[in-house]
Amino acid sequence: MNIYSVAYKNLLRKKTRAALTAGGIALSAWVLATLLGFNRGYENGLNRDIDNMGFQVLLTAKGCPYEAATLMLKGGTGLRYMPESVVKTVYLNPEVEKVTPMLMQGVFDPNKGENGAIAAYLGVDALTFPAMKGYLEFKQGGWFKDNNAYEAVMGFEAAELEQREVGDKLLIPGVDKELAVTGILKRSGTQDDGTIFLPIGAVQKIFGKQGKLTGLGIKVRKDADMAAFENKLYDLPDVQVVSMAQVKTTIMNLVNSARVIVLGIAVIAVIIAMAGVINTILMSVMERYAEIGILKSMGAMPLDIFKMIWAETAMLCSVGGAGGIFLSFLTARVSESAVRYFLPYAPNGALIALDWRICLFAFLLIVVGGLLSGVYPAWRAARVRPLEAIRIEGEQ
């Protein structure tokens, strides 16, 4: 029988205590892995959402920058209008690869729900918008070809709600205009799923907004100096520049503040778990004082005792750490939904991105933390004097 099997058998002697301690370690490993996964998942999701927009800069009429950023990421655009001539002005810049004009319009539909709701339509350019949104695939049909046609392409969820298929008619309430559905998009997991796209010319005509836009998406050349280009755009009158880099930084700053607090809680959870480990192992050492004394009198060296106690700690932490990481995989979807429920903005896709590196890091952190916690109890056990231990046991 080697030292590790002795350590293993020792743990089994107090099963409940060992299980509770391993449970505490598992919980802290779960919190740690989930949080690290969230850190990675949120940033990945945000990058993906921004990439999926197809453009790096959005121009809107002047307004609140935070509101514009949020509206944009949620599929809306500015609330004011800018002249269509801005397209030509922007396109003259050598940094620009592509531009796509947009016009968002909403109408109040009194027949949605008990109190009515807003139905929104996004007017897009038939030539440039589909090219920028290359990731969008069709379940049925395709994009409209004419910017003035009374046609519509519906996002997956918008089409489900309206029970529309290609060839069906769609009525814009309030303005009483009929559109023909030319395409139904596949689910993309982005804000486009809930959007109804119309040709921009048709939206301008239907809503009487000829020559007006609410947004201009700009795709910048890869070698362009973004900062210099943005500075040029700031010189344009009455428009607001929302850079995706700014949006990302703003959102990440907001999320980071919350993340620091949650990470603090995770650290506390790990410290509590480590205190639990010290308590459990130390208690186990105290209970086996005489036994350790006998082992030493039989020839066990202090290093052997130290290794035996440390092995117990390592086993507890390994089982707890592995259990916690398994739990984080098991509950990733529930945790993700909880995060989505409480966060004002959460990107699409997996919010908790667990991979082997995160798991390994969380596991090692827990095991190393546990081993450090086990140093003191192991050291105390190694220092036991055989005769003294046996005498104390005899007196009891």
Partner: protein, 208 residues
């Protein structure tokens, strides 16, 4: 109470596979408010999620289509559609049920809810969402009142394909202006389908 229910629902929804949501369901927008409006004396409700796929499968689908007198059609009307059923209580006593179905209309989706008593008779009729030139008429109290007291037996001889029912029957008395056109027939089909599904999901099982 609302928060507990939302929280529970959210956990259930989070735990189940995304495949469950391959087809769109029909929920009340604000159940706390709508349940009290449709059942003024109710004190609570319980939400159940059902589908033909899980309730009876292909056999049940065939039976529903036969009773309806029409096939399930299009992208969104299929065996997987999840239906939300609200059991309405007054204390521990069941007062009735609220159940809604989605129906393809001429210009958009129509969500038709029926509040049924314990025997399956219509207590209240509610169109939650409707895109139609006759939306105001079809969502009016006067139009909805024509359904009060009717049940599945009254709709058994109504044909959604022809939009006709035997002369003199209670259903033949349900009228809408000619302007309502196809959407009126869509609403009638939705009501019949709703009653059939309620019979399949609740009443026929209770009889057994």
């Amino acid at each position: 109470m609302l928060h507990i229910r939302k929280f529970t629902l959210f956990f259930i929804l989070a735990a189940v596979s995304s495949n469950t949501f391959a087809a769109v369901g029909c929920d009340l927008n604000d159940p706390d408010r709508d349940v009290v409006r449709l059942f003024p004396f109710s004190t609570g409700y319980k939400t159940r999620y059902l589908s033909i796929k899980t309730s009876g499968g292909e056999k049940q689908l065939a039976r529903v289509e036969e009773r309806l007198g029409d096939k399930f059609r299009g992208l969104y009307e299929n065996i997987e559609v999840p239906y939300t059923l609200y059991d309405i209580f007054r204390g521990t006593e069941t007062l009735g049920y609220i159940h809604g179905v989605n129906q393809k209309g001429e210009y958009g989706g129509i969500q038709v809810f029926l509040a049924l008593d314990r025997r399956g008779a219509i207590k209240a009729f509610y169109i939650q969402k409707l895109t139609s030139r006759s939306a105001k008429e079809l969502r009016s109290k006067e139009f909805g009142a024509q359904f009060a007291g009717l049940g599945l037996k009254d709709f058994e001889n109504y044909s959604p394909l022809s939009g006709k029912s035997p002369e003199g029957s209670a259903v033949s008395g349900i009228k809408a202006s000619p302007r309502a056109g196809k959407d009126f027939f869509s609403v009638m089909r939705a009501v019949k389908k709703n009653l059939i599904l309620m019979n399949e999901f609740v009443f026929s099982k209770r009889e057994k």
